[in-house]
Amino acid sequence: MKSRYLYNPFTQIAGLKSFIMGIFGLLITTYLAFNTGTHFYGLLNIDFAKDSDYWVYLMENLSNWLFLSIFLYISGLILSKSKIRAIDTFGTTLLSRIPLILAPLIRTIPLFQSFVIGSWEMYLIMGLYLGSLIWAIILLFNAFKISCNLRNERLIVSFIISILLSEVCTKLVLKLLT
């Protein structure tokens, strides 16, 4: 496997294929998040608490993906001169979230299920999450760049604004629902 696939598989995988792979990844991530009590409050916020029903974890993962996809798609419609497809934006955005599986995956090990604040277990999980987050953002950036065919300032500014808006909307929706 070429290393390029790790940070930019979207020249090969897009459309319905990325959507199906992404849905599969989202369902596994949600299942592990529920079993280990790993909350994703948006893309940039994680918490550890086995305190909720399955639907809460599902909403956390679904809402952030949907908001992020909607804002990225709108940005593409406004700023891109190319014809863009919703399935590409929604599918590749979904696929970009796959690295986030790492934090709930490591928490299946009993040692990482509950721990003391400031312990090495906490730092290890946070380090792993940070790494997976950076990886997911790189994937997301490349997904947006390719699916919406944007470049330079338009690409960077609209990408940052979309992430920030999706974070705010996700938190608002989760606050209302839970």
Binding site: F48, K50, Q113, S114, F115, V116, I117, S119, M122
Partner: protein
């Protein structure tokens, strides 16, 4: 070069580990089931009494500091705040036991409580001292990270 990196990583892990190992989670075989029952009965009775508008009588089940802190008036006030925030108390279930590394006789029992309005489980924490008396009691949102 490789061995220096390994030593550095080991030092970092050791320093992180040494600054935070004040508590230890007990395995199932290490847990004193009788103490769990004492803590569970206390938490459940305390919250049920308050829910019914009654006052909980500690008698000799708690240390003096707890008795002085949770007067009848304070109990009413505490439950009112809980009710406003999470709704009425429904039930609780045992989750885990921790001890302080330097004093294995202090037991920290964590229960997950269900409240009427809350979609999330709430932590009910009871601390028992070496003589099995209640030495601490907290109610707060559940976290897998012990604070």
């Amino acid at each position: 070069m490789k061995s220096i990196s390994l030593i550095l990583v080991a030092c970092i892990i050791f320093s992180l580990n040494s600054c935070s190992q004040d508590f230890k989670k007990l395995t199932d075989s290490e847990i004193d089931k009788n103490k769990v029952k004492i803590a569970q009965d206390f938490a459940s009775n305390f919250l049920t009494k308050l829910k019914n508008g009654e006052e909980y009588q500690f008698q000799d089940k708690a240390i003096d500091a707890i008795k002085n802190q949770f007067t009848g008036e304070t109990q009413k006030l505490v439950y009112q705040q809980l009710k406003t925030q999470f709704g009425d108390f429904q039930s609780l279930e045992y989750s885990e036991t921790w001890i302080q590394s330097n004093s294995k006789y202090i037991n920290i029992f964590r229960f997950k409580g269900e409240f009427e309005k809350s979609t999330k489980k709430i932590e009910i924490r009871v601390v028992l001292n070496e003589s099995g008396k209640i030495a601490g009691f907290w109610i707060k949102p559940w976290s897998d990270m012990l604070k």
